[in-house]
């Protein structure tokens, strides 16, 4: 993560975190993928404990059940159905992945109420530089959709939330492709109680699709996952798919 961070974590919980954007008015795009580094230690009593047992350090506890599938030429369908064995990516640094679902810009001091200046943008930045420098702040929050540890991508909530004041970076297209190989994140996103979960899901699918350079197969696979999620809610499925297809 050599590049400059786009934000810094200022509030964290297990399922989402808030970060302050480095640039005023320039948070990461709605529905885009961001990451926060973490120490990479999985729960010693949980998953990693099994992995750390002597002699089985290389084995995935789920390998035996996944191995049932022949997996030459893995399709998204196979991935959805869990038929694809986990791949390890040694170059992957441990990180928590999240999808931006909200961004706000407002006074840094929440007690202070802003007033209108009735000036155009250029004039305003010349006359009131303090606004952008320290009076105003842009922050965004992101829904945690997974993490990576030991070179593996996990599509579930990390054992611990990210630490405060860690830098937030945008995910690279390569990372986006990896973390969206399985569609479990769609369930996490659509279950998140937010006013615009349909919008988040659609935007995030568009991002993932763009990271693939536009892949119709991927859109179909994601759509199928949504169709399974919204079995009883065809209207919702349709609303999302309309936003995706644009």
């Amino acid at each position: 993560m050599g590049e400059e961070a786009i934000g810094e974590v200022i509030e964290a919980s297990t399922t989402e975190f808030a970060a302050e954007s480095r640039e005023l008015h320039a948070p990461p795009a709605f529905g885009s993928f961001v990451k926060v580094p973490w120490d990479g230690e999985e729960n010693p009593q949980g998953l990693s404990a099994i992995q750390l047992q002597p002699g089985s350090s290389e084995e995935d506890p789920f390998d035996s059940f996944r191995r049932g599938a022949g997996s030459f030429g893995v399709s998204y369908q196979d991935i959805i159905e869990g038929g694809e064995p986990d791949e390890t990516h040694p170059g992957l640094s441990p990180a928590i992945y999240a999808v931006v679902h909200q961004a706000t810009t407002g006074p840094a001091d929440s007690g202070r109420r802003l007033r209108a200046y009735w000036k155009d943008e250029k004039q305003l930045s010349e006359e009131q530089p303090e606004l952008s420098e320290w009076l105003l702040v842009t922050s965004f929050s992101a829904i945690v959709i997974g993490y990576s540890a030991n070179g593996r991508v996990r599509q579930f909530v990390p054992p611990r939330p990210p630490k405060l004041h860690l830098p937030v970076h945008p995910c690279t297209p390569e990372e986006i492709r990896l973390i969206t190989r399985r569609m479990d994140f769609l369930r996490t996103l659509s279950n998140f109680r937010t006013a615009s979960s349909e919008e988040v899901v659609a935007a995030c699918i568009r991002e993932a699709n763009a990271a693939r350079g536009g892949d119709f197969e991927f859109l179909v696979a994601a759509g199928k996952e949504l169709a399974n999620l919204f079995k009883d809610d065809y209207d919702r499925l349709q609303a999302i798919m309309r936003r995706v297809a644009l």
Binding site: F216, V220, G223, K224, A227, N228, K231, M241, V244
Partner: protein, 554 residues
């Protein structure tokens, strides 16, 4: 997704098409079609294998259904141009459900002592994978012609090239039926089956060939004007008899024997069989028997035909017969005698040997007999001749079988009698009187069975239909005919849809005694190069044929 239970090579040839989601032993199984499979590739009648935990279930597709998990979708379907939405929905919210009828099960643990095909007694568990059948499956179930001469290739399953074989030994054990609308390919299949029986020496055949299609050559729709008949394939092993030598000469078809029937061979029962055709009154039977008791079995007909008014009055008086009934019977039988004049003759006029004796001697020596009717193809003549000949051959067979039971004589060679327009002989009203009814019901005890070829199975007595061993059914569209064919078949409901959806040509449902499970086949071509080649192999050395005969018939 699991390929456990199949050998590696087998698993490679299989393609998973879906998973079992519900079902019952009584009503069959429901399979959810995999989302990457097109509903249109799934045809009724197709043969699939369900891979259960302990057994493989060989099943037939009986119905294909479009299903959805969201009713709201149906009220508001995606627009035609929305390919993404259509693809998303297909296999998830909208999917195909396929109804399967499990027919046979095979334990996966082949080490078990009774690891053979058995009728289904249970069903596979939830989410068992369903695969397309492979060539190995078809061979395992229907046998392989190359390995066992009992089996004879009659066609291929839908969408496959592997032969489906009839077990000929089982086939000739019972009476069989070939049904289908006119022009579906009944005659072709009958020829194929007859060739199989002759080639593999499983039985001798007597074919009542109404339209002169079997003996020397047959006609065909399309480019080729004709196909080879049995005689051209098997030479000396087939003898062609003709009622109408003139017609055979015109068609340039060699015949071996001309058939003439003396009046003395006609019994009252033969005439009764024609009561519909001759429009006989019920008293005609009584009148006929009065004549028999007065003049005897041999002479009643010639006497009746020769009566004038005086002798008639005298006969009526002395035998208590109504004169009007007698003269009506005489009138009608005169019409019959006149229309059959060229082959039905007074005993004194008969020029050739007794046809029945000739036919019997041919049959006894293992030769197959095709009786051509030439121009005499009207049902009246066909029925009369077929009935007279069959009745006497039946008598011979009963006698021979009884002799074999009592002493050292061998059982007679199994005989298959092929009749066309069978509903005329086997209608509910006549089935009890015609000899064919008797044969269909009980003659397998005497080694005689029928091969019934008919386009109107609903006209056949239901008791007889239920006794038919193997039914090969082409397309039937009449509801009654379909019902009739499925009489006596368990799980008939599933097959109903299959039968109604057959192609109009060369596609048939085979079910019954000679196949382990019902199967829809594309029947093989008759008289093409492959067929000719496979028949050539029949030309084995005589000693081999003789040895087979010893084995099969002693």
């Amino acid at each position: 997704m699991s390929d456990e239970g199949f050998d590696k090579s087998e698993a490679a040839a299989r393609r998973e098409v879906g998973q079992i989601v519900s079902g019952s032993l009584a009503k069959g199984l429901s399979m959810k079609l995999n989302s990457n499979e097109s509903v249109e590739d799934i045809r009724a009648g197709k043969f699939v294998v369900v891979d259960g935990e302990k057994h493989q279930f060989f099943s037939m597709i009986t119905d294909v259904i479009l299903d959805t998990s969201a009713q709201g979708l149906l009220a508001n379907p995606p627009s035609r141009g929305n390919h993404l939405m259509r693809q998303v929905l297909s296999g998830t919210t909208t999917y195909g459900t396929v109804e399967l009828r499990p027919m046979l099960m095979l334990p996966k643990d082949r080490g078990e002592p009774d690891s053979e095909l058995r009728p289904v007694k249970t069903i596979p568990g939830h989410f068992s994978a369903v695969y397309t059948a492979t060539a190995a499956d078809v061979c395992r179930i229907f046998g392989d012609e190359a390995l066992d001469p009992r089996y004879f290739h009659v066609g291929t399953p839908l969408d496959m090239d592997t032969p489906v074989c009839l077990n000929l030994e089982r086939f000739i054990e019972r009476s069989n039926g070939i049904f289908g609308k006119s022009g579906t390919g009944k005659t072709f299949l009958t020829r194929i089956v007859l060739c199989g029986i002759i080639k593999n020496n499983k039985a001798v055949n007597l074919v009542f060939d109404m339209h002169s299609e079997y003996g020397w050559k047959g006609t065909v729709e399309g480019e080729r004007a004709e196909v080879r008949g049995l005689k051209q394939y098997f030479g000396d092993r087939v003898a062609v008899f003709s009622l109408d030598p003139e017609s055979s000469r015109r068609r340039d078809a060699p015949i071996d024997f001309e058939v003439q029937i003396p009046y003395s061979q006609v019994t009252v029962d033969d005439v009764v069989l024609l009561q519909n055709e001759l429009n006989l009154s019920p008293t005609a039977v009584e009148t006929g028997y009065a004549l028999v008791s007065r003049f005897g079995e041999q002479r009643w007909l010639s006497q009746l035909l020769g009566m004038d008014a005086d002798t008639m009055a005298e006969f009526c008086e002395s035998n208590n017969v109504h004169q009007a009934a007698l003269s009506a019977l005489q009138r009608k039988l005169r019409v019959l005698a006149e229309s059959c004049r060229s082959f039905l003759k007074d005993d004194a006029e008969i020029e050739v040997d007794d046809a029945v004796k000739q036919i019997m001697s041919y049959l006894e020596s293992g030769k197959n007999v095709v009786l051509e009717f030439g121009q005499h193809k009207q049902p009246l003549r066909y029925m009369l001749v077929a009935n007279i000949l069959t009745r006497r051959i039946h008598e011979c067979y009963v006698k021979k079988t009884e002799e074999s039971l009592g002493g050292d004589k061998p059982k007679p060679r199994p005989l298959v009698i092929t009749i066309e327009e069978a509903h005329k002989f086997l209608s509910p009203a006549l089935a009890n009187q015609s000899i064919f009814g008797t044969i269909a019901r009980e003659m397998r005890k005497y080694n005689v069975t029928l091969l019934v070829v008919d386009q109107r199975p609903s006209g056949i007595d239901s008791e007889i239909l239920s006794q038919v061993g193997t039914k090969i059914t082409y397309l039937l569209s009449d509801e009654q005919d379909i019902k009739a064919v499925l009489t006596g078949v368990s799980n008939a409901s599933g097959l109903h849809g299959v039968l109604a959806s057959l192609d109009s040509k060369q596609q048939a449902l085979v079910l019954g005694h000679a196949v382990p499970m019902p199967v829809v086949i594309q029947t093989r071509d008759y008289d093409d190069e492959d067929f000719r080649l496979s028949m050539m192999r029949a030309d084995r050395p005589d000693e081999l044929i003789e040895r087979d005969r010893e084995r099969d018939f002693s």
